[in-house]
Assembly symmetry: C2
Homo-oligomer: 488 residues x 2
């Protein structure tokens, strides 16, 4: 082992310890760009005649080469930096968690959650509202039955349908605004259920209308079962799924299957999974239970103290502290949102689908890779996206509206529902949620115009991580000023 | 655009907004593992005869498919999660920085740095020590001259050489321990210079000994210039670099070039860069200036308050708070270490090398990708690694020592120097630094035994991020107990 120039780039002293060695990257590349014309130094081939165990020759151990971080070296393998990011992230958040525990002790209190839904244990306004929602569903079904039978004109049906749909949105809002015993959380829950019902009945009416408008000579549904029919029939004890045709579908059974199914788009015959996988269902139910606890715990332990600490800077309009609080709130808010996403879109919807043997489990696509804001909105919430596409965007296109306009209209409709679900329960109309959604239109344009690839992805993440706590802080601040500052 | 099953997986509403679309991943894959035997559902080929603009057929918009996060989906593209990590990391640290600024105000004070080096402005012990170090270098050169001339026996030369080298380490240590006017920082600086001199002279003596021992019939250095000789000569005004042979190299000029060059391994003729790149040098000098300021600022603003806040938990032995403080200290400590790495190994050494037209700029390799502890220690500090390899590890192997033993000996020698550079300036012998380095031996074994690939890389990062602040806190705690608690 002579001390030649060639050994410097490759040999290590402690090769025994499993040193998985990357190929020495700087060799032969270093400085070749700057060293104009100079031939590369020969690597002092071995075999000078002396013993390989003795240092000899001119005892060379240096060669002309650039540092790896110099641009001239051409080196670009920074894979380890990504692991560094992960390690740093885990450590930073472990510290935050520990600091929080030391500062506030354990604040988690599952009983307190009940009080969010119930102000007065003898008055249950939100569950009553949810039960009352069945009236609109039954009204919608009866309306369609009349239309199918021909005892109601298409025009009158259209008007009644609009009335029914409008009252689904207006009635619970009026109840919430007028009845003081409704808590904000209970109201948000009831309004959410009504919004889902609105979207579902909208789709139900649309599809039934398309069925009536279908030319009579158009080919009907091919009469074969949706998938693996023979298999499924054997596995499920010959419970045949006969394909349902138009007027037959106007049954309570068909309607309530759609209302319970995890989709917003009606179709006459949903694809069904061949059997109920009990272990899959059990896993999803355990996840639901665990993540519910985790969300409640994180909110009580981490969000609430942070938000309470943010009120003073807001009152004093101390901008550097507001930003500090905002960044402090961003981390738990984002983590809770991620947990919520998994809990709702993976655990809850899959559990519901498994119970109903509903086949289409695509409740989200890979939004985490989205490199543009539009890709994110197209992929994070597939039931809503599919509904918007089928019942709002494409009908608009068919009426000759431009693509850009239709896209903006979808965002504005979404903004309306966001505002509806936040402002009415809180009983204050501040338009923060509306503006947050509406701001996605210029944001989408900006990101797609200036950022691509990983930069676009980072911009989407940034808007998610920072956008939400801004809106949360805005609402909390205003709510605080309205309700808690009356005494001061 | 009919509402077929096939469109659900591919179409998006807002395709106009530059939505860079990943290939729809769940298609055809979803549930195929569980749906035993069932043939995949046909994708409802278009062309039913009705207008493509009208919804028709059976208005299908669902297909049987699994959620992406289900293991059955086979989906594995989580590239965006890495961008999420980066965004979260930047945000978390931006918040920490802001919080620190709000809490402590601006603590950066460049003047205060001077007081770390100088206690008494009329007494400059550290610079005097550094200037005095020249005596050892001159003594080493004179010794080699006598040996080359034959006026000193090889045996006596060896003894004198050991004496000279030992006194390089012992003399400044004795001065620091006996002279109270030496500040810890000044002492660490002087001892560092002496350690470097020790390693350089060790290499100088070794190489000269090898030259004397070389068999006279061995082929000499090939008489061609190291690289691009003609080019270099023209570019630099015909200043020829004649290759130096053994006894000629014992000149002050040759020795001082080696002492100033950014390497610890002596060789008679160093590879030289063809010319001084003025812009490269200027960039490195600017970096040196900027990162010096940044390090001083971060230490004053971030490290010092965190360390001061850690003293109380340490006094009370409050373990959860100690860990919280440790994690809090880990972030600034690690960032400062990273900046130090770039500042010293890239900026300073490259600037020095450029000034001396020293050709070999490999001061570090890609340690950030290291998947084992040994790979890290082999690659983060190439000058020291090269010295250990050439003058410590390989001579030991030649004497028949086993690889493992030699590797452990290298770590222990490194541990000795770490302890020497910390304990003597602080005037307390606690062996924390020694144990920190010695602990790398079992750590290296553990990591290489149980962790591979990215896990190994993460373990190396973790040991770097957490190991250093532990040692720092240990020393600071003991120093605090010794010096500041005397009054209490």
């Amino acid at each position: 082992m002579g001390e030649r120039g060639g050994s410097a780039g490759a040999a290590g002293p402690a090769g025994g310890g499993g040193g998985h060695r990357a190929p020495s990257p700087a060799r032969g590349n270093g400085g070749s760009r700057r060293r104009r014309g100079g031939p590369p130094k020969p690597e002092h081939p071995s075999g000078h005649g002396d013993s390989a165990e003795e240092p000899a020759g001119d005892f060379r151990c240096h060669t002309v080469q650039e540092s790896l971080l110099s641009s001239a070296s051409g080196f670009s393998n920074y894979r380890g930096v990504l692991n560094w990011c992960v390690v740093m992230l885990v450590l930073c958040n472990a510290r935050l968690f520990l600091e929080n525990l030391i500062k506030y002790g354990i604040l988690v209190d599952p009983i307190q959650v009940v009080s969010l839904f119930l102000k007065d244990p003898y008055s249950w306004p939100s569950p009553c509202l949810v039960i009352g929602a069945n009236v609109f569903a039954v009204a919608g079904l009866e309306l369609e039955r009349r239309l199918a039978a021909g005892s109601l004109s298409e025009r009158a049906g259209s008007a009644l349908r609009c009335l029914n749909l409008l009252s689904i949105l207006c009635f619970p809002a009026a109840v919430v605004l007028l009845l003081p015993s409704v808590t904000p959380v209970g109201a948000a829950f009831a309004l959410g259920i009504h919004t889902v019902l609105f979207l579902k009945l909208f789709s139900f009416h649309d599809v039934n209308k398309w069925c009536r408008q279908r030319p009579q000579n158009a080919p009907k549904t091919p009469q074969k079962p949706p998938q693996g029919g023979e298999e499924a029939r054997r596995a499920n004890g010959d419970v045949a799924h006969r394909e349902v045709e138009y007027p037959e579908n106007l049954s309570y059974r068909n309607l309530y299957y759609f209302l319970l199914a995890p989709t917003l788009c009606y179709e006459l015959n949903f694809p069904r999974s061949p059997r109920l996988r009990k272990r899959f269902l059990l896993r999803r139910l355990c996840e639901m239970l665990f993540f519910t606890q985790l969300q409640v715990g994180l909110i009580q332990q981490w969000m609430v103290p942070t938000i309470q600490n943010s009120m003073k800077p807001f009152r004093d309009m101390d901008y550097s502290r507001i930003i500090e609080r905002l960044l402090k709130l961003a981390v738990p808010n984002h983590l809770i949102w991620l947990i919520f996403f998994y809990w709702f879109f993976h655990s809850c919807l899959n559990a519901g689908a498994e119970l109903l043997r509903f086949g289409d489990r695509q409740f989200y696509r890979d939004w985490w890779n989205s490199e543009s804001v539009t890709y994110f909105w197209q992929n994070w919430n597939i039931p809503v996206h599919k509904w918007c596409l089928r019942h709002f965007y494409k009908p608009m296109l068919r009426r000759g509206v431009g693509k850009r306009t239709a896209q903006a209209a979808v965002f504005l409709a979404s903004a309306f529902f966001h505002e509806y679900l936040v402002s009415v329960p809180l009983r204050m109309f501040r338009l923060w949620a509306f503006m947050g959604m509406a701001a996605q239109i210029p944001l989408a344009w900006l990101v797609s115009r200036f950022l691509r690839g990983h930069y676009g992805n980072a911009a989407v993440w940034l808007s998610l991580i920072l956008g939400q706590p801004v809106a949360v802080l805005m609402y909390v601040h205003d709510y605080y000023v309205l309700h808690c500052n009356n005494t001061g």
